[in-house]
Symmetry: C2
Subunit: 229 residues, 2 copies
Amino acid sequence: MAKEGLFNVRASDGGELRLSRASVGRFSLYLRHLEGVLGEGAAKVSSGQLGEALGITDAQVRKDLAYLGSLGQPGIGYSTQELIDAIRRLLGIDRCWPVALVGVGNLGRALLGYRGFAQRGFRVVALFDTDPTKIGQVIDELTICNVEQMPAVIAATGAELGVIAVPCAAAQMVADALIRAGIRGLLNFAPVVLRTPAEVRLVSVDLTVQLEQLAFLVHTQAPESPDTR
Amino acid sequence: MAKEGLFNVRASDGGELRLSRASVGRFSLYLRHLEGVLGEGAAKVSSGQLGEALGITDAQVRKDLAYLGSLGQPGIGYSTQELIDAIRRLLGIDRCWPVALVGVGNLGRALLGYRGFAQRGFRVVALFDTDPTKIGQVIDELTICNVEQMPAVIAATGAELGVIAVPCAAAQMVADALIRAGIRGLLNFAPVVLRTPAEVRLVSVDLTVQLEQLAFLVHTQAPESPDTR
């Protein structure tokens, strides 16, 4: 089976760490849970509580959190706020990421309304569509622009990430236009394989693949370790 | 790092295989590409062509396809149709999966219109919402029902998988109701951790996690093996 993608990140002691994509995903989940816990007023949290909430073993939680440096105290636990800050630094989301959204259909509107994005520092600063009837419409104080305006609008708004929520047939053209306009990270929802230069980061969300994985799990009734859910 | 989830599946020779979630995901991608290739009239395909199209090494493709049994011929390649049939059998999608969709907001409507679902045998047979103003509306010849009607409607339609596209606050209640109505596989889009009994299969799609992974990739500019994209 494929070797999982590994990423070099800067450790808290200035050295280098290698993280798997699965562990990057888990840090996102820890972060979500910790922010909820902090909102409820809990200044401390234990690895056992985190594991319980996320369906991950205590040992795995402690192993993951050790990547953040020496934060926990035996018998006392972790400072919720310290963990949140350390994970946000690790993931590079201790700052705002301006996002350009291309495709303002049902999916695009769902993404615009997705409360998680703004909460986590992802701010949609530019809207584009390929449908001429939508150009010029205003949603959430943003005017929908056409793809020809992309270089100017992206330069003006400082968008760094591009979200592609257009039909398959338009997805490659939109990706090419975003890259020409200077975008270096693409989140693609179109169920099509995009070709991108090596320096561009691409994350694809294929909703049919998720449904097929679910069908496969129900089909096989395969036991699965909880930390992959 | 977490051990990747492994699944036992029945091999073509009647034995048992263990597949990682990553490889199950790749089989979905092979399938998508092969169906496109077949639509263009190509009766044969090589591992090199598949790898090229999906950004995976030739060796990885051959290793994956070996799980399907002895299908390829050296110098000739694989029969496109045979590969498609074998992958569909492996994944348990050589049949139709009836789906209940809960939450008919922007995301639910986007999922209803997601052309991949119907093409791949996932047919939405029941719609539910928690918003009283939507109950009784008809979309795609399906009437939106309330959650109280779930047991009766799910029994009548034979829905086997449930897709949760409601706001966070309603997601656990909807999951509980689907499970009580007999659903054994859930695809959850609400950015919240759901608690489900062990016999229920759960796949969660957290769109913020995907965006955070992208930000992390752009932040670190980490090199990544293409087969994880």
